[in-house]
Subunit: 187 residues, 2 copies
């Protein structure tokens, strides 16, 4: 950040009075420009004993499998964001959505939020950001070709919870994600 | 937003190709500047049968009672943000933190996240953004003087869940917040 988005003045980095961290501050109009984490919202969409995965058509991790998810937009709820991303990436409609997993990724200032949902019908297809969209049984999950650890961990939780038929909301720290997610070392 | 924060060029609003919503786009370097919801994280800190509330020293809702909470910063987790805000606003340390309530406020593009926590000791005091910090028993909660519906609803949930001694994570839609929170009509 080099210029003030309000007045075009030069930006300097300093700690404003009453604050305790470096901020981007306009040298002209004194506006403080805050930077905050972003929420990535998505769905674990289930059809009978199968889950819906998308193969990514875009970087990062092009060609790898993911749960449909993307950045939450202003003026929407987390649930709306998750449903919209599922529609955009998998052309799929979901219902019976319940908050399921939340992961902090402080190293990239993101929070991942997945909803467990029921796929409304089998009318799905690859959206613009997907190469392919498919249903997978547990035995067929491409564990070594998943795009992100948050996706793998959410799938692990789901298949474990499905046995007990109880799905508590999970907010695991990054350390747990690192320790428990055995299939991907890329965190 | 009038100027590009990267190059200082003029900003125009249009829908970039491959996108479906109005964005701030630089007319000079073509950078798209996204705006995303912010997370407000806080704590419901409990000491025996009492909960910790802060009377706000700042607007909005100066003079009203709130749970310690504030904007999550880059490079921290939701839990770290909630603990930091509790330290800043109530000079209080918490432990045994568990995710408890999440509320979407799409009209102001915020997501509120409260952790249920145990107050580590009675060494607390008003931070810079608080006029006063106090413990309250359920019967003494100043319901009509609470700062925000998210605070009131979290307290309602807590006192109800405390009876059953089970505290499920709650992600209620705004409609539920409006319908269920009887003490404040300001949503």
């Amino acid at each position: 950040m080099k210029f003030c988005s309000l007045c075009g003045g030069a930006i300097s980095q300093h700690i404003p009075s009453g604050d305790n961290r470096l901020r981007y501050v306009c040298t002209q109009c004194q506006t403080v420009h805050y930077k905050n984490p972003r929420i990535v919202a998505g769905c674990l969409a289930v059809w009978e004993d199968q889950v819906l995965l998308c193969r990514r058509a875009i970087e990062p991790r092009r060609g790898y499998w993911t749960l449909p998810a993307g950045f939450m937009e202003n003026s929407e709820t987390m649930l709306e964001a998750a449903a919209r991303e599922t529609l955009e990436e998998a052309r799929a409609r979901v219902c019976d959505m319940d908050l399921y997993t939340l992961f902090d990724l402080p190293h990239i200032s993101q929070v991942y939020v997945f909803f467990r949902a029921r796929l409304a019908d089998l009318d799905f297809a690859a959206g613009e950001e997907s190469l392919e969209v498919r249903l997978f049984r547990e035995a067929d999950i491409p564990w070594s070709e998943l795009a992100f650890p948050t996706v793998g961990r959410t799938l692990e939780c789901y298949f474990a919870d499905r046995v007990a038929q109880t799905y508590p909301v999970r907010n695991e720290p990054l350390e747990a994600l690192r320790a428990h997610y055995k299939h991907d070392k890329k965190i």
